[in-house]
Amino acid sequence: MIVRIMTEGQYRLTDDVRARVNDLDNRCVEAVERGDEPAFHAIFEELLALIHAEGEALPDDDLEGSDVLVPPPDTSFAEAAADFSGEGLIPDSP
């Protein structure tokens, strides 16, 4: 799966990493739903760090489209309320 961290670039994820990102994605939604700003930022940071660490950055000249778009790293809690809802970024049953 290819994800794009908005304002940052694209990464290719293995299925294993995709599952872990999906888990963090769901936890972001939960944090947003209970209005827990510090928890959201912590989990979102973790999600970004996981993509950075385990994802394979796509070359700049690659023309493939992304499957999932992750909001920008500087996303505020207010913005997150709109972004992380329902099933989050990654649908639970693809």
Partner: protein, 252 residues
């Protein structure tokens, strides 16, 4: 796909379909799309230039403020050695305000530097994708029938369209932040215009108001501490002449 991905997907689909707008003829579509991509690249370049301009404006303010802080410190020393504690206190209050502003400016400048770097990287990615699209477009033109070409074109345009949407978002965020900094810069300029960091000996009638604002903005204890320190230094080092301050006494 819920949330952001849904919203952003819509933006991207719109970008891509806009790119493929003139679809009568694949050749034309390709050239039109490429043209749009180059325009987008130009916009990013302009965006970077705007951030750099805003940053330079803040850096000029930094330089001016740094000079004012040094000057106010000197004036406080001179006032104290001339026995004018009130004037020394005013000078130190202003110095403290100046230092607070300087710290804030440091933060703003590094924030804009971050935005500049981010946009520069975005520009680099977009340029690489456009270049890749250009190569692909020539291949498509040369090798595919009209029907096949349409599919290949949308494939290629999706990647560039997504990058264009992404750069658009990066630009929007940079513009928002730059606007905040501009407002900030104007606030500092207003303080300057009000004479807050001016030579104390040259203050005019607006001074009472400035002093009142300063009293609200600065905490007395820090000024007291600095005043005490300065007094101790002057006491041990011997008092230099305070000629320049004679003029200032009247205005204090």
């Amino acid at each position: 796909m819920a949330g952001m991905s849904g919203r952003m997907s819509t933006v991207i689909k719109a970008k891509v379909s806009k790119l493929l707008d003139r679809a009568e003829d694949p050749q034309e579509t390709l050239d039109y799309s490429y043209q749009k991509q180059l325009e987008s690249l130009q916009k990013v370049k302009k965006g970077i230039a705007d951030v750099v301009t805003a940053k330079k404006r803040l850096q000029m303010q930094q330089e001016k403020l740094e000079q004012s802080v040094v000057k106010l410190d000197t004036q406080a020393r001179q006032a104290l050695s001339a026995g004018n504690e009130e004037l020394a206190r005013t000078a130190l209050e202003r110095k403290q305000l100046g230092q607070t502003e300087l710290q804030s400016l440091d933060t703003q400048v590094s924030e804009l530097e971050g935005q500049q770097q981010k946009l520069t990287e975005s520009e680099k990615r977009l340029r690489a994708k456009i270049e890749s699209f250009r190569t692909k477009k020539e291949v498509i033109k040369a090798q595919y029938s009209a029907a096949e070409a349409q599919v290949r074109i949308s494939e290629a345009a999706t990647g560039v369209g997504e990058e264009m949407a992404d750069v658009g978002l990066a630009m929007q965020r940079a513009v928002d932040k730059t606007e905040n900094m501009k407002a900030r810069a104007s606030a500092v300029e207003e303080l300057e215009a009000a004479g807050t960091f001016e030579d104390l000996t040259q203050l005019g009638s607006g001074q009472d108001d400035i002093d009142r604002q300063l009293a609200e903005l600065t905490t007395g204890s820090e000024v007291d501490d600095e005043l005490a320190k300065m007094r101790a230094e002057l006491g041990s080092g011997g008092a230099p002449g305070g000629g320049q301050l004679e003029a200032g006494k009247g205005g204090a």
